[in-house]
């Protein structure tokens, strides 16, 4: 009986093609909005989350706010924190300066980070060529430099430039390594997060002191990583240590990478909810369209309903038939909406060179929601058809 009703419903949709399409349009647009928007948001969220975790989501950064304070942290003290605090895995002081870099190929302003070997581990850097800074480099304040990918390409025209010389403020630095930048988004992200430019180079902290006038032996900022991802605990320990040392929370600022992730999750979650909500409203409006057309259909087909009842259709059968018709409209609309969304996402992918996919949960959600809308707005017209009196219906012309 259900199969017969589905056949009849499809037939009635086919006989009224334009009307059925216009009715379905509400659902099509609703599903399209829901699927595309949520897929875009979740795609973007995934990309950002990946970028953040590439950088190292357990990274903690500490910045001194009062530059004039006495009793400042020394490099040794910062490095000793990894031993003193149980949840802190590694620490690396970092200072930065914007310095002119020069090769035969190019002269360009670069962001120079003065730091220690632990920095690469904390940031989760992988080396593409050569090695990162090592302990002897810092102890002897040797003139060695590690480049990021963009800097290597810009200054040497290739990324394998180990042994070449880069001049920073006129001093010659030997290139010992190139950091693997991963994907484009990562360098975009590191630019955003670190405030640096596209060209980033790393030299021993001690070497930077000699190079840039503002940098001293005392540490203005350092990075730390946590043991086994216990970022919260590590952050608390550092906070306690700093409070013990300075007794004033305004003296320093502690910030962890996971906070960005959390904030980002919150933002994208809210965004998904908001967009999903808007799409759900348009689905509801589509449902009202279905109810409207089903009511028209029931009135138009009063005589048919009368005939069906006269030849033995029970009220339940008539109700089922119209309910299935409403659901067929909404589900076919939903499927068309999904197909349209898929095509749109493919076009976006080609045009923007990204890879947004249909999110399966969203598809399930939209099918579920559309069926729900079909039932919700199909029930009243179906009920109206079911409770018609056969003699009245037959007399209707």
């Amino acid at each position: 009986m259900i199969l017969q009703s589905i056949k009849m419903a499809l037939k009635s949709i086919k006989t009224n093609k334009l009307r059925s399409f216009l009715t379905m349009l509400g659902i099509i647009i609703g599903v399209f909005a829901l699927v595309v928007l949520v897929s875009l948001v979740s795609g973007a969220t995934n990309t950002i989350t990946e970028s953040i975790s590439d950088i190292g989501s357990d990274m903690i950064s500490v910045t001194m706010l009062d530059w004039g304070a006495n009793n400042r942290l020394s490099i040794k003290e910062v490095e000793s924190l990894a031993d003193k605090l149980p949840n802190v895995a590694a620490t690396a002081p970092a200072a930065q300066g914007s310095i002119d870099a020069k090769t035969k190929l190019k002269t360009e302003n670069v962001m120079v980070y003065g730091t220690t070997p632990a920095y690469a581990e904390i940031q989760g850097y992988k080396m593409k060529y050569g090695r990162f800074l090592m302990k002897p480099d810092c102890e002897n304040h040797t003139n060695v430099v590690v480049l990021n990918h963009d800097a290597a390409i810009t200054f040497f025209g290739r990324d394998n430039c180990i042994g070449e010389t880069l001049k920073l403020n006129g001093r010659a630095y030997r290139v010992i390594g190139v950091v693997d930048s991963g994907n484009q988004q990562m360098s975009m992200m590191s630019m955003l997060l670190n405030g640096g430019g596209m060209y980033t180079v790393y030299i021993p902290y001690t070497s930077l002191i000699r190079l840039a006038s503002g940098i001293k032996l005392s540490v203005d900022s350092f990075y730390a990583s946590a043991v086994d991802g216990n970022t919260g605990a590590a952050k608390d320990e550092i906070n306690d240590y700093m409070m013990d040392k300075y007794g004033d929370e305004d003296m320093f600022y502690i910030f962890s990478q996971s906070e960005i992730s959390e904030a980002m999750d919150k933002v994208t979650g809210t965004l998904s909810l908001l967009l999903g909500g808007i799409a759900a409203i348009s689905l509801l409006v589509g449902g009202i369209g279905i109810m409207n057309i089903m009511l028209v259909s029931v009135t138009e087909r009063t005589r048919e309903i009368g005939i069906r009842k006269a030849i033995g259709a029970q009220p339940g059968v008539i109700r089922l038939q119209f309910l299935i018709e409403a659901m067929t409209l909404s589900i076919v609309g939903c499927l068309l909406g999904i197909v349209l969304s898929w095509i749109t996402l493919q076009i976006i992918n080609i045009l923007a060179n990204v890879s947004f996919g249909l999110s399966i949960p969203v598809i399930l959600l939209s099918v579920l929601f559309s069926s729900g809308v079909g039932i919700l707005f199909g029930i009243y017209p179906a009920h109206k058809a079911a409770k018609m009196k056969p003699i009245d219906a037959l007399r209707f012309s």
Binding site: R303, I307, R308, I311, A313, V317, L394
Partner: protein
């Protein structure tokens, strides 16, 4: 078998009370070909609606094959119509979006028959009215006579115990009307019970007997007589069920 026992149907039109049926008593036996004749407004349609279980009586009792129809729900009435009544209407009442074969198949779907059984019955019924070759045509591709033959095939396919025809020739020319009447005679010869409602005396007199209806009052001369007066066709397929036999004993008019 149809038994009406003092059946009344009353309509309220504003303040006016119209008695569409006034204590009507009828007795139609299995295998009979009966015409119900009366002018328009005489209560024919009301009678047909009640006989066809499309409507229920306000007063009195209606027994169809021994079952009292009064106490049934809309759902049960639909089930009774599905199994026992084969309607043939003046304006054919085919579903215009469906082909001849789909129209004939529809009541069988409601009876819950299997696909194979349905196919066989549709073929049999359409062949009987000589329309099997036109089974893929929709009603508007057919003449009135052909449409009425499809409607008869539809009634036939469900193997009802009563064929209930309401002015079946009313919308047809005389020649086509005669053709349709031939089919009814044929159905009757096969042992089917036929109730034909008409205002046309020429049509009415083709039946075994006529029941006259006037201003809601029914004149059925067989009521009160012995059942054996009317020969029951030997080829009647419907054998009285247990229920039917029991209620026959209770039936005061039998």
């Amino acid at each position: 078998m149809i038994v009406f026992n003092n059946v009344s149907k009353i309509y309220h039109m504003g303040d006016e009370v119209v008695k569409a049926l006034d204590h009507a008593s009828i007795h139609i036996r299995q295998g009979e070909f009966v015409s119900i004749i009366g002018p328009s407004g005489s209560g024919k349609s009301t009678l047909m609606n009640i006989v066809g279980c499309l409507d229920t009586a306000d007063e009195g009792e209606y027994f169809l094959d021994g079952m009292s129809i009064k106490r049934y729900s809309e759902k049960s009435l639909a089930m009774i119509r599905s199994r026992k009544i084969g309607f043939i209407f003046q304006n054919f009442n085919l579903i215009s979006t469906m082909t001849a074969e789909e129209n004939v198949e529809l009541p069988l779907i409601y009876q819950g028959l299997s696909m194979n059984e349905r196919k066989a019955r549709v073929k049999e019924a359409l062949e009987m009215v000589d329309l099997y070759p036109r089974r893929k045509h929709t009603p508007n591709q057919m003449s009135g006579g052909q449409q009425q033959r499809v409607a008869i095939a539809r009634a036939m396919a469900s193997k009802p115990s009563i064929f209930l025809a309401d002015e079946p020739t009313g919308n047809l020319d005389q020649a086509t009307g005669r053709q349709i009447m031939q089919i009814f005679h044929h159905l009757h010869e096969q042992g089917n019970t036929i109730v034909l409602i008409t205002h046309d005396e020429h049509v009415a007199e083709q039946a075994d007997r006529s029941i006259k209806i006037m201003d809601g009052k029914v004149y059925d001369e067989t009521v009160g007589k012995e059942e054996t007066d009317v020969p029951v066709s030997a080829s009647a397929e419907e054998t009285p069920s247990e229920e039917t036999r029991q209620s026959r004993k209770e039936d005061p008019s039998a």
